[in-house]
């Protein structure tokens, strides 16, 4: 079984500031890692994913994340946020090759203030 911990339930930042949303996972097997974004009253949209290869993954809207196997982390970063980035962000993990066992974190609400 695997688990995901998103260390911050809420992250308030000012517009144009950098942001990091933290995600740690636990698993006894190799994993795939995902970040999803959910805008108010909408479904989940895939932001980026790590399946294999380079540990630095670039996603949509200027976000990137780095897979760190030794620290079992997959933190999400953006160098300069916009008001439109205000949303809830979910980290998720699945065993490699078993995407149907996707486990989500509880989410981090990013609020970007002017």
């Amino acid at each position: 079984a695997q688990s995901v911990t998103q260390l911050d339930s809420q992250v308030p930042v000012f517009e144009e500031a950098p942001v990091e949303l933290r995600c740690n996972y636990s698993s006894s097997v190799s994993v795939y890692l995902f970040w999803y974004v959910q805008y108010p009253n909408q479904g989940l949209q895939l932001l980026l994913k790590y399946l294999s290869g380079s540990t630095l993954v670039k996603g949509i809207n200027g976000f990137e994340a780095e897979f760190n196997k030794s620290q079992t982390s997959f933190h999400l970063r953006k160098p300069s946020v916009h008001i439109s980035d205000t949303a809830e962000y979910f980290c998720a993990v699945s065993p490699r090759g078993s995407n149907y066992k996707l486990t989500f974190g509880k989410g981090t609400l990013l609020t970007v203030n002017p």
Partner: protein, 118 residues
Amino acid sequence: NAGVTQTPKFRILKIGQSMTLQCAQDMNHNYMYWYRQDPGMGLKLIYYSVGAGITDKGEVPNGYNVSRSTTEDFPLRLELAAPSQTSVYFCASSYSLDPDREDTDTQYFGPGTRLTVL
């Protein structure tokens, strides 16, 4: 492609009523899923299907039933609705077993159904 579609968007039920949440996908995905999302709790898997005719329970299946008669459709049935089933329900789909597909092993979500049981 429409992706994953869900109907209805909103529904209010009385305790004890039944209903079916509809989900369809047009991406030729073999896997489909139902999740519920409660505030501050993330998403919990209710049921999933690895192909037509094959379904299995997830983490929170009690009070729900599913069927998968076609690749495209995966309806979720609520029997005897209870206030504890008040939630937002998301359907998702994915494709597995083909490493050459860009979307392999990645779940794509519908817009959700907001259900209130009073």
